[in-house]
């Protein structure tokens, strides 16, 4: 790992000031992806601004608008939260499937979403539920937030502070995981929201995406059988040592069917 300067921020404003004062600074959340990337020298920031000491970035709030989760809330906290299990059980389930118990004790929702790893789980829930991402400057709708591989609408120096999820009528998540990394080879989040059915896919492409064909079909008839007839094209999907694009395309249908089955069997 290359050397860097370390700063512990006391507030979001303090973190922004410290970022602005650095050459090529990055914020540190739980570090479960960033530290690994820095160890491999894939990432070499000049400065790290640690957000762990900022109490305002932690916590879960449930009100009439839905569930708001602070950026520094760990996956373990979301997975175990009685409020989230009650309001959006699919979100708690998704959090319980991320990595392994030790990773879940350190990794945070804000870090995962801001990093936008093509195989991360949370982006599927954020896009699938039509959540809103709050930052140090503004609010960004999920449909506009994820812009490409590891790319988001976040501008340099902008810090993700919380994510608000509207409560769906029902939702489910199914993931085919890489057994070593536990990342999603393909993960599909299906939700029946106030604005219709949303289907978000992670792991399969360079960035989380929605499948309108599945959404339309499930909008007409919400059943696992409807999913069977739909083939997602392999064009532009990821292909690597773990799975070909064609296999990933096939898994999208399988995982979508499992997510729908999970929902209707409840």
């Amino acid at each position: 790992m290359h050397a860097f300067n370390y700063h512990k921020a006391s507030s979001v404003a303090d973190a922004m000031a410290k970022l602005a004062a650095s050459d090529d600074g990055r914020v540190l959340a739980g570090g479960q992806t960033l530290i690994a990337a820095m160890k491999m020298r894939l990432s070499a920031p000049s400065d790290l601004v640690d957000l762990a000491g900022i109490a305002e970035l932690r916590g879960i709030k449930v009100d009439a608008n839905g569930v708001t989760i602070g950026a520094m809330t760990t996956h373990a906290t979301v997975a175990a939260s009685p409020e989230i299990k009650k309001t959006i059980p699919a979100l708690a389930f998704l959090a319980s499937e991320i990595g392994d118990p030790m990773v879940r004790n350190m990794g945070t929702i804000g870090g995962s979403v801001a990093n936008n790893d093509p195989a991360a789980d949370y982006p599927a829930a954020v896009l699938g539920l039509g959540a809103t991402v709050a930052t140090s400057k503004r609010k960004i709708a999920a449909d506009k937030f994820f812009t490409g591989m590891y790319e988001t609408a976040l501008e340099p120096g902008e810090i993700l502070t919380s994510i608000s999820f509207p409560v769906p009528k029902r939702a489910g998540y199914s993931k085919f995981k890489n057994p070593a990394s536990r990342y999603a080879l393909v993960g599909v989040f299906v939700a029946e929201t106030a604005n219709g059915i949303r289907v978000a896919v992670t792991g399969a492409g360079p960035c989380v995406f929605r499948v309108t064909e599945l959404e339309k079909a499930l909008g007409k008839s919400f059943s696992p059988d409807v999913v069977n007839g739909i083939k997602v094209p392999a064009t532009n999907l990821n292909s690597d040592i773990h799975a070909s694009a064609e296999y990933r395309a096939h898994l999208i249908t399988v995982m979508a069917r499992r997510a729908v089955s999970q929902i209707v069997s409840k």
Binding site: Y6, Q32, K39
Partner: protein, 154 residues
């Protein structure tokens, strides 16, 4: 640039100046000379480096030492009593032969203790799912699961 680090490790206060890029596992092994915490894959997959920070299991090969600033850390060396009496989980791993080469064992034991805190009476499926972050290349996990079940009943 170095950072003054203070934390409690296995009940004792520890202070040291570290470079920010020092990994917690290197601090524990090289600075504190507590070499029971192992580095297996060094990529946060195998779990050999599992320790407890503020009561929760974490993989210390994938953290900076500065992230443990002010925290309470327990490593495998901190489990047994001063007179050498093993922690019930350590005793169960010995009794049920939950190890062969022993390399993954410190991490397995630390994870298994965390597991029982959250699931005091786990079934076999839960134990296997919860130990997902710890890889063992020898045992096939069979005796590890038996050891955790025994410790849960103890």
């Amino acid at each position: 640039m170095s950072v003054r680090l203070s934390m409690t490790v296995n009940g004792k206060p520890v202070n040291a100046d570290v470079e920010p890029r020092t990994l917690l596992v290197d601090f524990i092994r090289d600075t504190l000379r507590l070499t029971g915490t192992h580095i297996g894959c060094d990529t946060a997959q195998c779990g050999a480096c599992t320790i407890h920070m503020n009561g929760k299991a974490v993989k210390c090969c994938n953290m900076l030492a500065v992230q443990a600033q002010g925290s309470t850390v327990v490593t495998i060396e901190g489990l047994a009593k001063a007179d050498g009496t093993m922690h019930p989980m350590q005793a169960a791993f010995r009794d049920y032969h939950g190890l062969q080469c022993g390399y993954c064992t410190p991490g397995m034991v630390m994870s298994a203790i965390d597991l029982l805190k959250r699931h005091p009476h786990p079934n076999e499926e839960q134990i296997r799912a919860e130990l997902d972050g710890n890889l063992c290349r020898c045992t096939g996990y069979h005796n590890i699961v038996k050891a955790v079940q025994a410790a849960a009943g103890a």
